[in-house]
Symmetry: C2
Subunit: 143 residues, 2 copies
């Protein structure tokens, strides 16, 4: 299963149209915000409280732009590798409404990683602000 939302429309960030007919289509891009940023949000979710993969996936679906919501297997894979990196630990917990869940919680290294992401993302914000300023100048001044 897991045939989730196909053909996203928003947050297109790499128009690889190959000149389809006359001009690039907007609707043919599937990703959006770089996938790696999902790690930052996973850390944030877990800092707000322990959780398991399926629930984290739901949080993404409910509060993030569609194009940013990875296929569940991608999410699970991230959780696994982040655990291997020592950013979180997991424990199986029985559920009343389905199979047992793997509940993750952050380690100290995980909190540290979150802090580093936070400052890294500050840098990214500045960069984006710069981009937008210069882009805005273009639209006013030239062309």
């Amino acid at each position: 299963m897991y045939k989730n939302e196909k053909s996203d429309e928003k947050f297109c960030m790499h128009p690889h149209g190959h000149s389809r007919g006359s001009h690039a289509l907007v609707s043919d891009c599937a990703d959006g915000i770089p996938r790696r940023l999902a790690r930052a949000f996973i850390l944030l979710f877990l800092a707000e409280g322990p959780s398991h993969g399926y629930e984290i996936a739901r949080s993404f679906r409910e509060s993030m732009p569609k194009g940013f919501c990875a296929d569940p297997s991608v999410l699970y894979r991230m959780l696994k590798s982040m655990e291997e990196e020592g950013l979180m630990t997991s424990s199986l917990e029985e559920s009343t409404s389905g199979p047992p869940r793997k509940v993750y919680s952050l380690t100290d290294d995980g909190y540290e990683a979150l802090d580093m992401w936070a400052s890294g993302l500050d840098g990214l914000s500045e960069l984006l602000a710069d981009f937008q300023k210069r882009y805005g100048r273009l639209r006013k001044g030239g062309k």
Copy 2:
């Protein structure tokens, strides 16, 4: 040669420390902002005026955080693939101070792509603002 800046310190975004001793080091991360964003800035540079690879590389070095400055070959490769996607065209121009340069300028598709990046990055900015808000709440309230 091209042995450019080694061991960057800033804009670390993926601490993969594997618990080196006791806690993750900050200085062992080499990337930073996702490389793909460089494409947006390349388009921006070229929208500000035609340019060639070597100069674009210099612009990056001079106005972007170190970790975001790709190895020149990476930059050249991007330019090549973006040209293949029809976002820009190139023409060889003689230089008085070295070998001929490949000067790129944006096509209409290139300007369109820039516009799409601009709106995509708006979305990213919102996402980051959200992250920062939630991260800030954490630091005040809990833990």
